[in-house]
Amino acid sequence: MTGASGSIPSGTADPSRTAGAPQPVITALQSALAAEDAASYGYGVVGARLPQGSAEQATASTDWVAHMRARDQLSALITARGATPVPAAVAYKVPGPVRTPAAARALAATLEDRVAQAYLALVALPDRSLRSFGARQVRAAALRAQAWRGSVQAFPGLPGTSNAHHDN
């Protein structure tokens, strides 16, 4: 995938991107890394569509930094397990056109939903520390999504459950 453009993942890994390590742990970590890479790219799009110098743009910048840090953490976790972190794509397709601040906020929330979903796969692993790390990252992503959306979900990151958004 290096040098190619990718689409923003929906929380599942492409097995061909897992550096020859088919273990569920590496697969889940690579999926989370792919979601973080996509979010890091996506926040660049989000920030560019928010009013220059606004508090929202500052929040987008803070969130982008959080994703970059998480990306570094995941890369370290993958390397420590003897696998190679899959490099980020040069560019990612975003779900739709982002021409307005409202579309930018919606994209940020969508990015966070996908990050939350990817981290839930870490929670499903038996490794105690990865499970705790994953749960805290699901929570962090849900909090960022709540801030962008202004609404809450009953089951962040959990597909197949009722997740109607409630405006505040």
């Binding site: 499970r131 929570r139 009953a154 962040p156 959990l158 409630h166």
Partner: protein, 188 residues
């Protein structure tokens, strides 16, 4: 004509039902013997730790539902600043709406958790009345949400994967209730 068809049908089923009841009573001694047989096997083993954890989560979620229901029953809105009195003591449409949304989330959490327990929960499946609950301020509700989120994350170790995912998702949802309620409280 319709009545002509229905009445004979009813008359025919009544004796059959009586026969079934009698047969059930006749079978009672055998059933009681069977129960004694189960008791003779000894004290059943304690439930696995994850069942206890799930039961505990159901009880906490039930308490949250009861707390929010009590707030809704008392007026469903926040005291100014969330500090001066119970959450239901003063009017505030936006806070009341937010409290209703959060209550709906907790009801969904409770339903999902209860559905993972194969036996009926002692309290979890009952509709909480909340009659004896202390009505909290919104600020106290925010603290309860944070504590609930932290508790669920602390309980993840040892849970089956699907249950761990549910706990983590609910923990995330409950954490988001904190800023959600705070925003509603401060917008009044």
């Amino acid at each position: 004509m319709a009545d002509d068809r229905l009445v004979p049908g009813l008359a025919a089923t009544a004796p059959a039902r009586r026969a079934l009841l009698i047969a059930s009573v006749a079978a009672l001694p055998a059933l009681l013997t069977a129960c004694r047989g189960v008791q003779a096997l000894g004290t059943p083993p304690p439930p696995p730790a994850d069942v206890d954890t799930l039961r505990s989560a159901i009880e906490h979620e039930t308490a949250l539902v009861a707390t929010y229901a009590a707030v809704a029953a008392s007026g469903g809105s926040a005291a100014p600043g969330g500090q001066a009195g119970p959450a239901g003591a003063a009017a505030g449409g936006r806070t009341a709406a937010a409290l209703a949304v959060v209550l709906a989330d907790h009801r969904q959490h409770l339903a999902q958790l209860s559905s993972r327990l194969s036996e009926p929960a002692a309290h979890g499946s009952a509709t909480p009345t909340g009659g004896a609950r202390v009505v909290m301020t919104v600020a106290q509700l925010e603290q309860a949400e944070q504590a609930a989120s932290d508790r669920l994350i602390a309980q993840l170790a040892g849970l089956p994967p699907a249950l761990a995912e549910l706990f983590a998702s609910i923990a995330a949802s409950e954490a988001t209730h904190v800023p959600y309620l705070r925003a509603a409280r401060r917008s009044r």
